[in-house]
Each structure stands twice: as C-alpha cells, then as structure tokens.
C-alpha cells in the first residue's frame, strides 16, 4: 500500500513520494497544437465532447493527466474489465480522430485565450475531518478504488471499514471484497428514512436498483449501517480502532472515508468562468461566461456519468459549431434525488475538535481558524490552503464546516517545475 495515500488520483499530495498514487507523474508544457478544439479531461464528458467535435470534422486534442482515457469512473488497465457502455465510448473515441495527450496536466488557463476549449475536469472526493483522519490507514473511498483500479494497492486479507456517504461506498466495498479484503462494516451517514425514499425512487431507473442489489450481495455478512458515521479513529495494538456515532467500535487495517463528490472547478475559475454554489455556470449549449470556453460533466454540478455524457455531447457539438441531432436532454432528476438522499447531516460537519488537522499540507488544526472569517483571511493567518494540494482538500472542508467559499485559484494549479515557465 502507498504510504499516506488519500485521494488516489494525484490531487491531495499526501503520498510518499508525492503523487505515488499515479502511474506516472504528469508533465506540463505549452500547448503547441493546431487543434480547433481543446478538451481538458478524458472522462465521460471529455470523451463525449471530443467524439462529437471530431465527428463534426474538427481537429480535437484531449489533455488528461492519466495515462489512458476514461477519467476516474472508467479508470482501467484492461479495457475488457470495463462496463459495455464505457467500452463503446472508448472505441468510438479511438475511431473519432480526436488525439489524446496522456500524462498532460493543465496548470494554467492563459493559453486558452482565443481558442475553443471544453473543460471536462470532473470531480474529486469530499473529505470531512474527524479526530484521527490523518492516521496511516485512513484513505478516501474513491482513493481506495483508484488504487485498486491502477493495481497500486493490495487489499487482500485487510480488514476494511467504509464510513461516509454516497453510493460509491457500496461499489467500492464490493470491489474491495472481490480483491480479497474483509469488509468489517459499511457506515452510511444518511438516515434509513431518506435511504428508503431513495430506494423507492429507484424503480424509475431499474438498472441502478439491480446494480445496488448486486453490490450488496458481494459482501453479504458485512453490516451496512444507515444513519451511522465515524466519530474518531485511534491507533491500537489490534489495528485502527474506529468509534462510530452509535457508540460501537470496530477494529480494522484500513478506514475508507469520503462524503460524496466536489466539482473540480479550479481551471474554470482560473479561466474566469463564473460559478454558483461551487459549480460552473453554463447555458443550454454548455457555454460558460467566458467566450469560447465550454464546460461539461461534474464541474457544472455533480450529476453522474449519464448526464456527463449528454453534457459532453452538447459541449462538443457546440464547440464544433453544430447542433446535435436529435436534440439531447440532460436528466438531472436522478442527481436531485441523490442529493436529497445523501444530504450531509449537521453532525458530520462538527466532528473535528480544536486539535484536528484540517489542512494536511500545512498542518493547520481546526482551532486555528477560530478567529478567521473567510478562506482568504484564514489563509493569511494560518497558511491553510497554501500547500502543494492548493486547497483541493481543505477548501471544501472550509466551505462545508465554515461556509467560506474558496479563495481565487492561482497558477500553476499543480506544482510545476520552474523550467515550464521559462
């Protein structure tokens, strides 16, 4: 297992060595390309955008920090392991003529000026601090999944507790169980009542209901506790001792935690795109407030893979100057029901005590924020958000715990060797 891994996708900079969670650390250089359309991100939204723009006859270049197209959700080493829908899109992407530049990290938006760009930068996991969340063995739920998919973590025989929120927990619990982990328990903070209402709504999307049942059956035997969350983790001789909100305790080797997803909007904000409630504002063509820049998928609001594919198709068509036919409709109803079902309860926003670290890069404890009144001001006083992760982990924490919107991103968005600017 990689020491310190939290996010598993190269954004938290907690691994030793840094970004060891990535197959290869991406490089940064100037875009020197004749492409008509630049797509940033090769997840579902980016792939759909690239496919539609390329099929409309445009020269398309797709930049992604990973080694293969697919993004987080379709991360893979062997395409045959992917769901059929993913394989179909990747094959269509291969045939489209769009050119993928793998291992390319976009750290600045200055070169977008005068070009047509589709931002499909996806999302990352939301972490909420609790005493002990910085201990070795505590990692993200999506982080564990990413390590597993990249073959970078061995979970065989490990006792795993998953505690947090969202449907990803079940998917990852199932995947970990298949990889030989022993799932001790899964704790979902959402209440049984909310979950029941959500489950009743699943008949509208039966494929998802079947998915949920299939996942559940893979790790039968492990309790799935609703309305329960982790309040503390401590090292003990037997392993990581986890205390739950119902007073029960569990011992494990790995504690996976995460509270849903946060749109990754840093690049869009750096490019000057307007946002609302943490999401990039787009019109019906997926155009942002900046001329020539389109945005698709999770950065416009967490809505899942189906919505991302449709938004990507609309954005790619708009970037190519064509209208998709037949007209595409984005289904946000499912996302709305998810938001309601997995809404964060106030208790999980109040688990950190004064000593709990909230900024892992700079080692800032929660109590140090007491006298601050904004993210900018807290940064000036405590260095919160000034480390290599550039506030990607602590920014959403400050937003969630204190209601402070994030500070303006500054280039480079990821640590970049000085020579890249010469």
């Amino acid at each position: 297992m990689i020491d310190g891994a939290l996010c598993g996708m190269g954004v938290c900079f907690q691994c030793e060595p840094r970004r060891a969670c990535m197959e290869r650390v991406p490089s940064s250089s100037n875009i020197d390309d004749e492409a008509d359309v630049i797509v940033v991100g090769a997840g579902p939204a980016g792939i759909a955008a690239a496919v539609h723009a390329a099929e409309a006859g445009r020269r398309v270049v797709v930049l992604d920090s990973a080694q293969r197209a697919g993004g987080q959700i379709w991360r893979h080493r062997d395409r045959r392991t992917l769901p059929r829908m993913a394989r179909r899109w990747l094959e269509r992407f291969d045939r489209s003529g769009a050119r993928l530049v793998p291992g390319a990290e976009v750290v600045d938006a200055a070169s977008f000026r005068g070009r047509t760009v589709v931002l499909a930068t996806g999302a990352r996991e939301r972490y909420l601090p609790f005493p002990g969340w910085t201990l070795p063995g505590v990692m993200g739920i999506g982080g564990a999944q990413a390590l597993l998919k990249n073959g970078l973590g061995s979970f065989r025989g490990r006792r795993v507790v998953l505690a947090g929120s969202g449907p990803l927990m079940l998917t990852v619990a199932a995947a970990l169980a298949r990889a030989g982990a022993r799932i001790v328990l899964v704790a979902e903070q959402a209440s049984a009542g909310r979950m029941a209402r959500f489950a009743c709504g699943l008949w509208r999307t039966p494929s998802r209901a079947l998915d949920a049942i299939a996942y559940r059956s893979t790790f039968v035997g492990a309790p799935y506790r609703l309305g329960t969350w982790v309040t503390r983790a401590e090292p003990s001789a037997a392993g990581l001792a986890v205390t739950l909100s119902d007073g029960r305790r569990a011992v494990c080797d790995i504690l996976c935690t995460g509270y849903g997803l946060v749109p990754s909007t840093e690049l869009a904000r750096l490019a000057g795109c307007d946002t609302r409630d943490g999401a990039v504002i787009v019109d019906e063509r997926q155009a942002t407030s900046v001329s020539g820049i389109f945005c698709a998928g999770e950065p416009t609001g967490i809505a899942g893979v189906e919505a991302a594919l449709v938004e990507g198709a609309i954005a790619g068509s708009a970037a190519a100057g064509v209208t998709p036919s037949p007209p595409l409709v984005i289904d946000r109803a499912f996302a709305g029901r998810m938001d309601e079902a997995f809404a964060l309860r106030p208790e999980v926003r109040a688990l950190a005590d004064a000593e709990t670290i909230v900024c892992r890069c700079e080692g800032v404890p929660y109590g140090a924020l007491d006298s601050a009144w904004s993210a900018r001001q807290a940064k000036l006083y405590t260095r919160i958000g000034m480390g290599p992760c550039q506030g990607r982990v602590c920014g959403p924490i400050m937003e969630c715990l204190r209601g402070w919107p994030p500070d303006t991103p500054r280039p480079p968005l990821f640590p970049t060797p000085v020579r890249a600017f010469l």
Binding site: D108, A110, R383, M386, G387, P388, Q390, R410, P411, P412, P415, T416, P417, V418, R419, A420, F421, L422
Partner: protein, 151 residues
C-alpha cells in the same frame, strides 16, 4: 512566484544590484533577480514591475522574463516545483521618490509612504528624517526631494 519547500537551496536573500535600477525604471515592464528564502524552506522568486494601472492579472511574458533572469543567476531553480504565482500593487509616486514629511494643509498629518520596492532599504533614513521634521530639528537629510508638497 513561490516554490515548494526546498530546504538548503538558498540560505539568504540574493538580489542583483540592477534591482534599484529596475525599481526606478519608467517603462512598460521591468524584471530584476531577487530570491528570498522563507522560514518554511520555500523560495520566493522575484521581481517584476509593470505600469498597468489597477490590472492585477499575471502577465505570462513578464513572468517568463523574470524567471529566465532568476535561472540565469541560480540554474538549480529550474527544477524546483513552483507552487503559486501572484501580483500585488506597489505604492509608488509619479517621480519615484517617496513622500516623507507633513501633508500640505494638514499640519498634524505626517506621511512616510510610496517607497515602491525599496521600503525596507530606505526605512532607517525615512525614520530619521521624519523624526527630525516632527521634532522641529534641522534635518540631517535634505527633506526637499521627499516633500509631499512637491505634487
């Protein structure tokens, strides 16, 4: 620009003599080599100046010039990861000399401001001059070039 933590790379500030020239250049943009280690082990790389009014956006050409100059003095900087770049406003006067003295028509308001990028360098002289003026002593430094009444 501020870099990642690189303890040991740079133990004290290094600045080129041309910095003074740069700080008093009337032109669209100028750069000068100036690196400063921070207590965190990070290195601050400067510096640049642009006469662009209230526009605080980062001019990538000026940034590139500034960094090429820095790397020409300290080649090892090229491989150091940069964390952030930013700009700020420099308090300057039209003739590039600071205002030190009593503010016209407000006999109880004393001012010491507008030192541009040389505030710390000129701090001691500024303090002595201002003290002399406030105490009504014959100043040891000619106050005329710095008089706020000149504009």
């Amino acid at each position: 620009m501020v870099t990642d933590r690189v303890p040991g790379l740079c133990r004290h500030q290094i600045v080129e003599l041309g910095y003074v020239q740069s700080a008093h250049t009337l032109g669209d943009a100028s750069v000068a080599f100036n690196v400063q280690p921070r207590s965190t082990g990070q290195v601050l790389i400067g510096s640049s100046r642009e006469l662009v009014g209230w526009d605080a956006s980062i001019n990538r050409d000026v940034l590139g010039r500034m960094l090429r100059r820095a790397v020409s003095f300290v080649p090892a900087l090229a491989e150091v990861p940069a964390l952030r770049t930013w700009t700020g406003f420099r308090p300057a006067t039209p003739d590039h000399r600071p205002f030190i003295g009593v503010w016209p028509n407000m006999p109880r308001l004393w001012i010491a401001a507008g030192h541009e990028g040389l505030g710390i360098t000129m701090a001691l002289g500024t303090g002595r001059l201002l003290t002399d003026l406030i105490c009504g002593r014959a100043p040891g430094i000619d106050p005329t070039p710095y008089s706020p009444a000149r504009v």
